[in-house]
């Protein structure tokens, strides 16, 4: 499933902790057993250009194929499924619940949905039959073959590009950069709606040249219209020794991205910052005014700026 391509003896589980060799066959331990189930605003994913203001039925199971030292959901992502409290929720019940609670999307999120691929795939295909869309919130560390299949049932994704060096991925995340870049290019090419996030961690990936390298890659490979979210780090898990990202650093990152031509650049985890809002890249007018995950003002009509008519990329209804 992922580049780690774990080879397992009988009774051994993969690096993700949720897939195991049982009787000589690879088996998933988490099918139908989510440990987190919530209804979130879609802005929380973060997806700012996709059905804004709608609810997203969000699920996760235990385990992850990355081991980021800063993980904010480590209590589920870095645990074996036996160690979490799990619900019994088969795919059809998720779809029924999403309809019941008026959610336009189902989000596979919090931990790493790649590790519960089978559960996600079955749920997503049932959801499509009921006109519910599917959102993949991911680190993008997946092999090309499953990614190819995933593109047939996922409609939108938030892909976290954690840094721009193999060293960062190796030392902080226990993964690799190249497959993530491939995921970003493939999903974008296949027409999936993609927004990107980057957690800015003090001293590890917060230098101007780190940000500039990331922005240059985005511009060259995905173009200027892919929304880019710079997220504030908060001391967590194994990086409690570091301070939260200074707001000035995030502002600097946003300014670099805007100056290099990216049109939609956001700042996350800093409520009230102007980087929470969407502005028209042509007339610079305020299109969506957000505070936290709430929308206070909305100036997009038929997918266009209400003032100058410029088409704003995304899915707005």
């Amino acid at each position: 499933m992922c580049k780690k391509e774990c080879e397992l003896v009988e009774g051994q589980r993969g690096d993700c902790l949720s897939r195991m060799n049982i009787g000589g066959k690879l088996q998933t331990l988490v099918y139908g057993k989510p440990c987190a189930v919530h209804i979130d605003p879609i802005e929380k994913k973060p997806l700012f250009h996709y059905l804004p203001g709608s609810g997203s039925f969000s699920i996760a199971t235990a385990g992850c194929n990355l081991h980021c030292r800063n993980c904010q959901n480590w209590e589920i992502s870095q645990r074996e499924p036996e160690a979490t409290r799990n619900m019994d929720l088969p795919p059809q019940e998720i779809v029924d619940a999403a309809i019941k609670y008026n959610c336009r999307t189902i989000a596979y999120t919090y931990s790493e949905p790649t590790t519960f691929f089978e559960y996600m795939a079955d749920t997503a295909r049932l959801a499509h039959k009921k006109d519910i869309l599917n959102v993949w919130v991911t680190a993008g560390f997946i092999n090309p073959e499953p990614l190819d299949e995933l593109c047939t049932f996922i409609d939108a994704a938030t892909i976290d590009l954690k840094g721009m060096t193999e060293e960062f991925y190796r030392d902080v995340c226990f993964a690799e950069l190249a497959p993530v870049l491939n995921t970003l290019k493939t999903t974008h090419k296949r027409g999936m709606w993609v927004e990107m996030s980057n957690l800015v961690v003090p001293t590890l990936n917060d230098k101007e040249e780190d940000i500039a390298k990331l922005v240059d890659w985005v511009y060259e490979n995905l173009g200027p219209e892919v929304p880019l979210h710079f997220l504030r780090f908060w001391p967590m898990f194994q990086l409690r020794n570091l301070p939260p990202t200074p707001v000035e650093t995030l502002t600097m990152a946003r300014e670099i991205a805007l100056s290099k031509g990216i049109h939609y650049v956001y700042i996350g985890n800093v409520p009230g910052h102007e980087g929470n809002n969407t502005y028209c890249p042509v007339d610079k007018k305020l299109l969506i005014n957000r505070v936290g995950y709430s929308i206070l003002e909305y100036n997009i009509e038929d997918g266009r700026c209400k003032f100058c008519g410029h088409k704003i990329p995304g899915r707005w209804s």
Binding site: L26, Q27, Y31, E82, E118, N143, P144, E145, P146
Partner: protein, 72 residues
């Protein structure tokens, strides 16, 4: 015709050649060993115990997808 080498010289050269051959083969073996991927010892897993924990937690293992890697 008398040999230009004394018996001691021949023994000395023989020993040197033997030593060089030995060092060479050890070096070659070391090089080969370093070139091979490291092999972790197989984990010693009590499968019965692991399965017991999985059952106790109410998990129901299901066959997972297994992709054949195509040429990249």
């Amino acid at each position: 015709m008398p040999s230009i080498f004394k018996k001691e010289d021949i023994i000395f050269i023989g020993v040197i050649l033997l030593a060089l051959g030995l060092i060479g083969s050890i070096t070659l073996e070391n090089f080969r060993a370093l070139s091979r991927p490291a092999q972790a010892p197989l984990p010693n897993i009590d499968v019965k115990k692991v399965m017991g924990r999985i059952e106790e937690a109410g998990l129901e293992p299901k066959e997972a997808k297994f992709y054949t890697v195509i040429e990249r």
